[in-house]
Each structure stands twice: as C-alpha cells, then as structure tokens.
C-alpha cells in the first residue's frame, strides 16, 4: 500500500569526501601510467629550469589579447608582404624540379671556378663569330634566350591581373593533368 511520493533525499557528499574521491582517482591514474608520467616530470623540470613554463603561463593568460596584437601586426602591409614573399619562395622551391636545380647548381660551381683563372678574351668580330660556333656557348645562349622569353611572358600575364586565360594556364581540377 504505497502512496505516491516525490521527495528524493539528495546525496550529500561532503567536500572532504569529494576531495578524497578525486585524490583516489588521481592516484590510480598515476599508478597506471607511472613510466610516462616519470618522463613527463623530467620534461617539466627542464622547461621549468629554462623559464619556459612561466612564459607559457603568461602567454596563455593573455592568449587572445596577444594573438590579436600578433595578427594586427602581421596584417600590416610590410609584414604581410614579407609573409607573401616567404610563402612565394617556399612555393618557388617546391615547384623546381630537383634535377634542374642540380644542373643550375653545378653551373654555378663551374662559374665560380672562372674567377680563379684569366678571363677569356674575344678577339674582334671574327673571334666573336668563332665563339658563337662553340657548341657549349650556343647551348648556354639558347637557354638564356628561352629563359628571357619565359620571364617576359610572366610580366605580360602578370599585368593582366595574374589570372591567365584558361587556355594558357589550364584549368586544374581533380580530373587530370592535361593543360589546354
């Protein structure tokens, strides 16, 4: 014979009991991970010795404010240009084929040796003609002419806003690598 009741006695855990439960759980966790925690303590000690921890605390306490300062500063035209250049440089190096880079590097080494000996002399127009017929010179000149043409094309397309027409730049998408 039970009348309906609604009162539920609340479980009163004293602060001391809560604390004891938390400590118990923590000790259990320490025992379970003693090796990794030992290494962590060593790391913490080093960070403490170097003052890194105090610095980190200060940074975290002021996290959003500091981030705002950094973002504002970096966003200024000069810095932004620097970042753009840095990213562009990284992209440049990423885009060069390593074999080409090796070839250029070797050429530069050969060039540096030139400084150690007497510069070649070209005797008049006939001497120039003879030099032009030298296969090594002809190959080098050909490369430089091509390079100058490519450079010129870049300036030309750059002046059109950097987009390039799809026919020239190709429309890259995931479907393949054929250029138009």
């Amino acid at each position: 014979m039970a009348q309906p009741i609604r009162t539920i006695e609340q479980v009163e855990t004293s602060p001391a009991e809560q604390r004891a439960q938390a400590i118990g759980a923590l000790l259990g966790s320490i025992a379970d991970h003693s090796e990794s925690l030992g290494t962590l303590v060593q790391l913490v000690e080093r960070l403490h010795q170097r003052g890194v921890l105090k610095m980190a605390i200060a940074l975290l306490e002021q996290e959003e404010e500091i981030l705002q300062i950094v973002v504002d500063q970096v966003g200024k035209p000069g810095y932004a240009q620097g970042l753009k250049n840095a990213i562009a440089l990284v992209q440049l190096f990423s885009s060069i084929d390593h074999k080409t880079l090796q070839r250029v590097s070797k050429s530069v080494q050969h060039l540096s040796r030139l400084t150690e000996r007497e510069p070649a002399r070209i005797a008049g127009v006939l001497g120039l003609w003879r030099t032009l017929r030298d296969p090594d010179f002809a190959a080098g000149l050909g490369f430089m002419v091509e390079a100058l043409k490519v450079l010129g094309k870049q300036f030309e397309t750059g002046s059109q806003g950097g987009q390039g027409s799809p026919t020239e730049a190709g429309v890259k998408d995931g479907t393949g690598d054929v250029r138009g």
């Binding site: 539920i8 705002q68 990213i87 479907t175």
Partner: protein, 1002 residues
C-alpha cells in the same frame, strides 16, 4: 527520378558508354554524372545530391557529351554515348562555375566549424586545385538568421545551390524554403520571407544536413567543432582578414585547414545509433565532444531514412545530459526516496520478490517490458519473468497501440509485421492512410509519401477525423464517424467485388474463405455505410475507383484504427481488402501498421507477451517449452500469463501483489489513469526502472537508474521488421546502468547464472532459439547493415513478405477472416456531448519525459493544448487561449484551447504529450478495450467542456510551425536563375534551352 529510384525501376538493365575514352557499363536510368563518378570520384558536383536528384544550379559538373557541353547530373545515360570530361571547354566551364560559387562564399576553412573533412565546397575547391578567385567574395546585404533554437542561416556563406530548398520542397515536403532569385543578391527565404523561427519550418533538419557548406549549421556545432572557432569575433575577423591578405593562392590555406580538420577527428567522436522516437527506425551518426552532442548526421546508407530526420531525431537528444537524470538507485523509506548503493537496491529487490513469490506464488508478480529498450533487454526481461521467476505474466506497451494490427495480420496473412518496406510505400501507385497521422507520428516515413505524391503522381486517400497534414494533401479525405472504419472499408471491399474490380484470379489461387466472406459482406452496402459512417456514397465510390485504377496499393494504419474496442476487427477488414484486390506480396503493395515506438516490433518479436515466446512461438506448445527448458536449464510455466490490462484488474482483485516495470510510464500512458494509479497504490511492492523520476516511479518501492539508448549497445527492430544495431555514444551517467546489466545482476541474485558480458551474446542466444530470426547474428549487423525478418540461418533476410503469394499457413494460402462489428462505446450523449480524439504531436514523444527536457523543443512547444473546431468555438463563445476543463466519466483535465480547422464539429483533439497531471489525456480515458487483445479503447471517449476563461494567452507560442504559412514551390526553380540578366549560360545553347524546358515542366 534520382539514381536510387531509377535503379529500383530498371532492375538489372544496363547501358554501355564511353567515358574519357574508356568503356563503362552503368544501370539504365542513371544520369551521366553517376556514370562518371565511379571513374573519377573527384569530379565536381556541388549541388547534386543522390537523395535529391539533379537540381542544376551549380554548373560544376559540366562535361562534353557527344560534343555538347551539358550538366552531367541532368542527362540520362544512353547507349553509345561519348562522355569527355577533360576538354578545355569543359574545364573552363567548371572553373568558371566554381568561381561563381566562390563569389558567394568566403573561404575561411580553418576557422570554420564545418571544416570536418565533409564540406562539399571545401573538398571541391581543393580537388579542382582552385588557387585564386576570379570574382572576389562579396558579402550579401543580409544579417545572419539566428532565430531558430537549433540551426542558423548565414546568407554570406550561402552559395545558392538550392539543395536545402529541394530537400524542403521535395523530400521533406514541408514547402517552407525557397530562393528569391529576383533580388539583386538572391538568398534563401523561409515562408514568404520571415525569420526562420516564425516560419512553418518543422525543424526536420534536412536543409542543414544537405547544405554543402557552412551556410546552414547546427547551432551546437558553432564554436565547438574547430580548434580555432571559439575565439572572439574581432580576433576571428582579423584572422580571416590576415589569411586573405597574405594568401598566395588557396593551396597552402587548404593544407592548413586539412591538418586542422584531421586534428578534429581525434576529439570529435562519430557514433552510429538508431533513433528511439518512433517506429521508423532512422539511423545516423551522432557527433560528440566529451558529453556534448554537436550534431546528428544521417547518411545515404541509413537503410530506413537515408538522409532524412525529424525534429526529435535531429535535435532531440540533450535530455541524456539533463541534471534530472536518475543517477543512483533509490529505495522508498517512509515519505521519501533514499539513494542507496546498487548492492543494497538489488539485494533488497531480490529479497522482496522472493518473499512475495514464496507467499503468493509466481503468478502474483507482473513484469512490464519496454518498447523503448533493446531487443536484448526485452529478451532478458521475458527470460527473467519466465525462467527466473516462473511466470508468463510478461507484457509490453505494444498492447496499448499495435497488438490489434498484429492480430488482424496474423489472422489473414499469417505474420504480424509490415508486409514490405518503406521503399514499397514510396513506390505504390496509391497509399491509403487510415486512422494515422504519419506527418507527426512517423515523420520520416510520411516524407516518402509526400514526395511520391508531389513528384511522382502517387495518389493518396486519408481516412481520419482530423484534417491533418496528410489529409490536407490527399486526393480524397474521408471523415468517418468515430470508430466506424470497419464499415466503410468493408463497403468499399464489397463494391469492388460487385463491380468485378477485385482480383478474382489472386483470390482463387491464393486465398481461402471467399464464399463465406462474400456472404458476410452482404450487409455492407454503400447505403448502409453512408448511414453508419456519414461518409457520402460518392466518396466511397471514388475510393473504390482509385483502388481499381492503381496497380500497386499500400494501406497504412495506426492508433485511429487499433485503439477502439473493435481494433483487431478493423485491422482484419483492412487485410481482407488487400487480399480481395491482390494487393500483397508484390513490390509497392501491402499492409503497414505504423509501429509507434522504436522497438514495439522487437518487444513482441522477443517474447514480451503473455502467450508468446520469442519468435511468436506459443507458450502452451510443449515442443516450444521443452526447447527453451533445455536451452535455459529450467522448467517453464505452461499457461499464458496476464497482459498489462489484466494485471491492473488483478491488482484491484487482490491477486497481483507486485510489479516490475521497466522503461514504461504506465501511470500516465495506460488508459484510465486514476484506475491504474489506484491499483499501484494497492501493490505490496513495485520496482521501476527508468532514466527519469517518472509519475510511475512515485509509486515505486525501488527505483533503478537505467541508461538511455545513447549509453548502451544492442539492437532495435523497426516497423519494417528491420533489425538494426546501435553503438554506445556515452558512458552511463552517474551510477546508471544499461537495463540488460541491471536484469542480469538481479537475476543472478535470484539464483540464475547469467554470464552475459555484451548484448551481442544475448542477441545470438535469443535468435538462434527462434525459427523466425534464426540467422540474425550481432556480427551480421555491423555499422549500417540490417536484417529484416524472417531471417534464414544463412543470414538471408526478407524485405518483402509473401512474395510469390506464399502465405505461412499449412496450404500456403491466405485467409479471408470475418471480422465482428461492434458499436463504439462512450458515444456523445446529453451529459457528455463531445467526442475526444487524442494522439501525438510532432515535437514531443509519449508523455514528454524526454522531449520537454530538450531546451529548444520545450521553447518551441512548451505545452500540450486542446484543439477545438471553429464551429464549436463560435457556439461556445471561446477563442484560442481559452482555459477549459474537460470532464469525462473517469476524470478531468484543465488546459488552454486552440481553435483550428484541423478538427470539425463536436470533435476535440488532445495531444497526449504532457508530463503534467492536469493535462494528461488518460485521466479522461476508460477501461473499455478491444475484446481480443485488451488494447484500451483510447479513442472512444465522450466528454463535456466547461469554460473557465473565454480568452487568454495562446498555448501555441512563437516558434510553433503550425503558426507559419508554407510557400509551396515545384522545387528550386533554377530557370528563374537562368532568366536573370547577369546569368551567362555555361552549357551549349541547345542544351540551355532544353534544360529550361525540362525545369519548367517539373
């Protein structure tokens, strides 16, 4: 027609074509995009979604087909087609299309909460190696809309793809969203351009789920998903500015955002679960961070729902973290409940149950299992009652709703389950809904009917007292006198036979009992039906003609049929109609009683009924009992026990002394609550197992804190007989435990030796003992895999019952069963002059113990309300907001009224969804019941209305979708975009014209 539907229609027919020079074979009816994607999965397609089909707004999937530049999503494959994706023209067009999209969308992925490896815009831009925007991003002149409690719209991020509009207009078919294409800067609008929360938005979440970017986002995701997204707005804007300032191209930005997205995977868990809010059985991933739920994400591989959800499934889960959860076992001591340890609670319960059994016998205790619990828990509850406690007094709440439907089907067709799948309902030519309100009670299933009706010409007949959402859309709405469905169904059946419109061959070959049935039908003339049901004769003829004209017919029904004293009989009449017309056993046909709770089907399947062991094997059968005796190692009681209705009566008679109620709010959801509660007061001992301190728990001696579905593993069986697995999302809160663990620990204190460590072991034990589900195994249900019973031992399942017209009776034939017509009880009279109908509302579940604890739902719909017709309101001089007392012979409730055209005349409607005593409908309902199944006649009740205040504040508050004004559109209406002066077509001119014609014809 989308790809999936096309596949269904064309079965194994295929087409051969060439894609980028390579031969490909694809199903007939597919579109070219579907043929390209298996070859090149990164091929762009931003607006195309397989659940929605082609909407042609984004232009990113362009390719050359036989030399013409076309949108590949919209072009069906044809034999010999030559598809080339890599031409310059096609590439140019796709790049241009993406540039146009990015004009509308700011790429700040690393600080975007949608950057979770699944953002379509991000992934497409990256796959296309977009480095620069041709058209710089320009903000739109609109504010974010944050009015809705669950999601927000950011016009600045909206790419105007229209996926959300298509999903709302043609998949959910609530017809709320559209794009206003004629503005200078188009945007998505709700209704006729009102704030989201003031629109007719039903909060189903389709739009948010299909949004390919962060324009529509779940609010729980904002500031939570990303590592850098919770920062202050000023800093956040500065970071976006810096990113844009220094950007050398998007490549490096994408790399950083990809890394960040990957980091998110380590702290955001995605766990598959199955929804518990109705019998449709939607499955989806729940995204969580710690105990916080970030979002619900359904998938195309979700077998019942694909990407569909309703407000409860998409947004209704925060109750799991409610501070009101039960987290300690409680024992009644004097005038209060005292928290105790599990050992104390279990020991005490075992001791008390043992004492009562010793004193009064095993049958003096009743056990109520739960249609909200898993199959494994239901199996264990009946095993506990039978094997541990020695009684068949075991039942579950399906008796309150669906047992009459099961009875009707078993009599005629042989098996007690929906005869097909939701996909069959979607593909029917005609759907008949009798006494059901699926738009609110089975929301995702109703979307399939609305979509088929709107897009594919499916016909719809609704027979219901209320002009509910489906009735408003129906081609024919029948409004019978309450409780007379059997008569009109039988009259239509007779008329079909009389006209020779039935399937005589099917009846001759596959059905027994035709002659007797035909003779019984003699009474059911159209004249008799019109007189008894008040449905005009012309409407009955129209219904019969619609059945005649349909090749495939499905009938769905629910509580409007079953919760009457003749519920089993009317269910039988429905099955008879289907048999006479040969509308079973073929795709797109059949009988569909819409199961109300997530596991109504499973609770019965796994033996929680007084006369049935798992798999519907009868307890009186010696062979069955000996099988279980051998498996369980105990002798089992031979005679059927008491059902839940009988249990209440037996308490009043003094023979039932104790009850163990698992996951059921019996004090409020059984009919005639005063009668039930007085019974509880008379019990010697009650154990209640629940996740909240329910009304029923107030009567308990011991309360066990249980774990909701998100805190346990197991399986549920949906209305399609589909068994699906749920995975554990959270650890149980506090000391709460999954029900199967509580049962196991209690059983072992009562002498059992159960060693279950995981629900998988329980399922495998249970199914191996049955014929019906013999091949069901936990490991066959991994991930989104599912099985529809019957399941053979090799794991072959049965999505469609009775194919080849074989019925599980000895001669393989179905049976026409003569139903018994009984006049409804408690019809309106002088003292009680109004009829009270009752049922659900969309936003809340059951008595509301869960959904009123979800803040956003509670904000939108804070209370139940009484629906009063305009005629009655005028007659009684009341307006919306009036405070009324409703009095029946059994009790009274007091609440505020809403005047509406959803009800008519002297018929009232009261949603059952309230935890408040003064509003709960079952204080009004009676103990009359269906004679065969003892299902209460909830729907047969007369009342009178006493007016306490003629006017007052409306109980329907701002945010209730019923106050909105939908804006039906054929779809996204892309042709309005194409007509804009600033739109330049990217497809070839001939294709552009053809597409416009195609779109306008939709």
């Amino acid at each position: 027609m989308d790809q999936t539907e096309a596949r269904l229609d064309t079965r194994s027919k295929t087409v051969e074509l060439t894609i980028d020079g390579k031969p490909a074979t694809v199903p007939e009816g597919s579109n070219v995009l579907s043929a390209i994607l298996p070859c090149t999965d990164t091929f762009p397609h931003v607006c195309y979604h397989p659940a929605l089909g082609p909407i042609e707004t984004c232009d990113t999937c362009l390719a050359e087909v036989d030399g013409r530049l076309v949108r590949t999503c919209a072009v069906p494959v044809q034999s010999g087609m030559n598809v080339v994706t890599k031409t310059v023209r096609a590439r140019y067009a796709r790049k241009e299309a993406m540039d146009r999209i990015l004009h509308n969308h700011e790429l700040y992925c690393t600080v975007c909460d949608n950057n979770n490896n699944n953002c379509t815009v991000h992934n497409t831009a990256m796959a296309m190696q977009i480095e620069h925007q041709k058209y710089p991003f320009e903000p739109k002149p609109y504010e974010q809309d944050n009015s809705h409690p669950f999601y927000r719209y950011d016009p600045d991020q909206c790419i105007l793809c229209g996926r959300c509009v298509e999903a709302c207009q043609n998949l959910q078919v609530s017809e709320v969203l559209s794009i206003d294409w004629e503005r200078e800067r188009p945007r998505v609008i709700w209704d006729h351009d009102v704030p989201i929360n003031e629109s007719s938005c039903v909060s189903c979440g389709h739009c948010v789920t299909v949004c390919p970017c962060n324009a529509l986002m779940e609010k729980n995701m904002l500031g939570e998903a990303g590592f850098l997204t919770a920062i202050k707005p000023k800093l956040w804007e500065s970071m976006i500015h810096l990113t844009k300032e220094i950007e050398p191209g998007y490549g490096p930005i994408f790399t950083v955002s990809e890394v960040e997205a990957q980091m998110r995977e380590s702290r955001i868990q995605r766990t598959k679960t199955v929804c518990t809010y109705c019998g449709v059985g939607c499955s989806f991933d729940i995204w969580t961070k710690g105990r916080k739920i970030l979002k619900v994400e359904p998938h195309m591989e979700s077998p019942a729902n694909q990407i569909s959800t309703c407000v409860k499934g998409k947004f209704g889960w925060d109750f799991v973290n409610s501070p009101e959860r039960l987290v300690h076992p409680l024992i009644r001591r004097g005038d209060r409940f005292v928290p105790v340890s599990w050992d104390e609670a279990l020991d005490y319960t075992a001791q008390r149950l043992t004492e009562i059994r010793a004193k009064h016998g095993a049958d003096s205790i009743g056990y109520i299992s739960s249609s909200k619990c898993t199959n494994e828990e239901n199996y264990l509850m009946q095993k506990f009652a039978r094997a541990v406690m020695g009684t068949n007094n075991i039942d579950n709440c399906s008796r309150y709703c669906q047992t009459p439907a099961t009875e009707g089907m078993r009599r005629t067709l042989g098996l007690g389950g929906d005869t097909g799948s939701i996909s069959d309902i979607a593909s029917a030519d005609l759907v008949i809904i009798v006494g059901a309100n699926p738009a609110e009670s089975h929301p995702v299933l109703s979307t399939r009917i609305r979509r088929a009706h709107k897009k594919y010409g499916q016909k719809l007949i609704v027979a219901d007292l209320r002009k509910n959402d489906m009735a408003k859309r129906a081609d024919l709405w029948l409004h019978p006198k309450p409780g007379t469905d059997l008569i009109w169904l039988s009259a239509v059946t007779k008329y079909l036979i009389d006209q020779g419109w039935h399937d005589a061959q099917f009846v001759a070959d596959h059905v027994n009992g035709y002659a007797e049935f035909q003779s019984w039908l003699e009474t059911y003339t159209l004249e008799y039906a019109e007189e008894q049901t008040r449905i005009p004769r012309a409407e009955l003829i129209r219904a019969a003609e619609m059945i005649r004209d349909a090749g495939k017919v499905c009938i769905c029904w629910a509580m409007g049929v079953t919760q009457h004293i003749a519920g089993s009989e009317t269910s039988t009449a429905i099955c008879n109609l289907l048999l006479v017309t040969g509308q079973v056993g073929r795709p797109g046909t059949g009988a569909y009683p819409l199961r109300g709770h997530n596991n109504v089907q499973g609770a019965g399947d796994f033996g929680c009924a007084p006369a049935y062991m798992p798999g519907y094997e009868r307890v009186e059968d010696e062979r069955v009992r000996s099988k279980y005796a051998q498996a369980w190692g105990v002798e089992l009681p031979a005679s059927p026990g008491w059902d839940n209705h009988q249990m209440v009566e037996k308490i009043h008679e003094g023979t039932l002394k104790a009850m163990y109620i698992m996951g059921e709010e019996m004090a409020l959801v059984d009919s005639n609550s005063n009668h039930v509660q007085r019974a509880f007061e008379a019990l010697e001992f009650i154990v209640v197992q629940d996740i909240f301190f329910s009304k029923t728990a107030q009567y308990a001696d011991v309360v066990f804190p249980a774990a909701p579905s998100l805190e346990k593993e197991g399986t549920f069986t949906n209305t399609e007989r589909r068994i699906q697995r749920l995975y554990q999302v959270f650890e149980p809160l506090g000391d709460a435990k999954p029900d199967w663990q509580i049962l196991t620990e209690l059983a072992n204190r009562l002498g059992a030796d159960w060693r279950y460590q995981h629900p998988g072991e329980i399922l495998d034990e249970a199914t191996a003992l049955t014929d019906l589900m013999n091949g069901v195994r936990f490991n066959r249900l991994e991930g989104y895999n599912s099985l529809q019973w019957p399941v053979a031992s090799d794991g072959t399942d049965t999505p469609l019952l009775y194919s080849e017209a074989r019925f599980p009776f000895p001669d393989g034939k179905a049976r026409l069963y003569i139903p018994k017509w009984t006049e409804p009880v408690l019809q309106p009279n002088e003292e009680y002059d109004l009829h009270l109908n009752n049922g659900r509302m969309l936003e809340h579940f059951h008595e509301g113990n869960l959904t009123y604890r979800v803040h956003g739902i509670e904000e939108k719909v804070p209370t139940t309300y009484l629906e009063v017709s305009e005629e009655l309101a005028k007659q009684r001089g009341i307006q919306t907001g009036a405070l009324v007392r409703i009095v029946s012979p059994y009790g009274a409730v007091k609440l505020r009224a809403v005047v509406t055209d959803r009800v008519s005349g002297n018929e009232l409607y009261l949603p059952m969804n309230t935890p408040k005593d003064q509003e709960a409908v079952n204080y009004l309902t009676s103990s009359y019941h269906d004679d065969v199944t003892h299902t209460p006649a909830y729907k047969e009740i007369h009342v009178r209305m006493e007016i306490l205040e003629e006017r007052g504040k409306s109980p329907m508050t701002r945010g209730n979708f019923r106050l909105g004004n939908p804006n039906p559109q054929p779809g996204v209406m892309v042709e309005r975009k194409w007509r804009r002066a600033d739109y330049r077509p990217l497809v070839d001119e001939s294709e552009s014209k053809a597409a416009t014609v195609r779109s306008e014809m939709k």
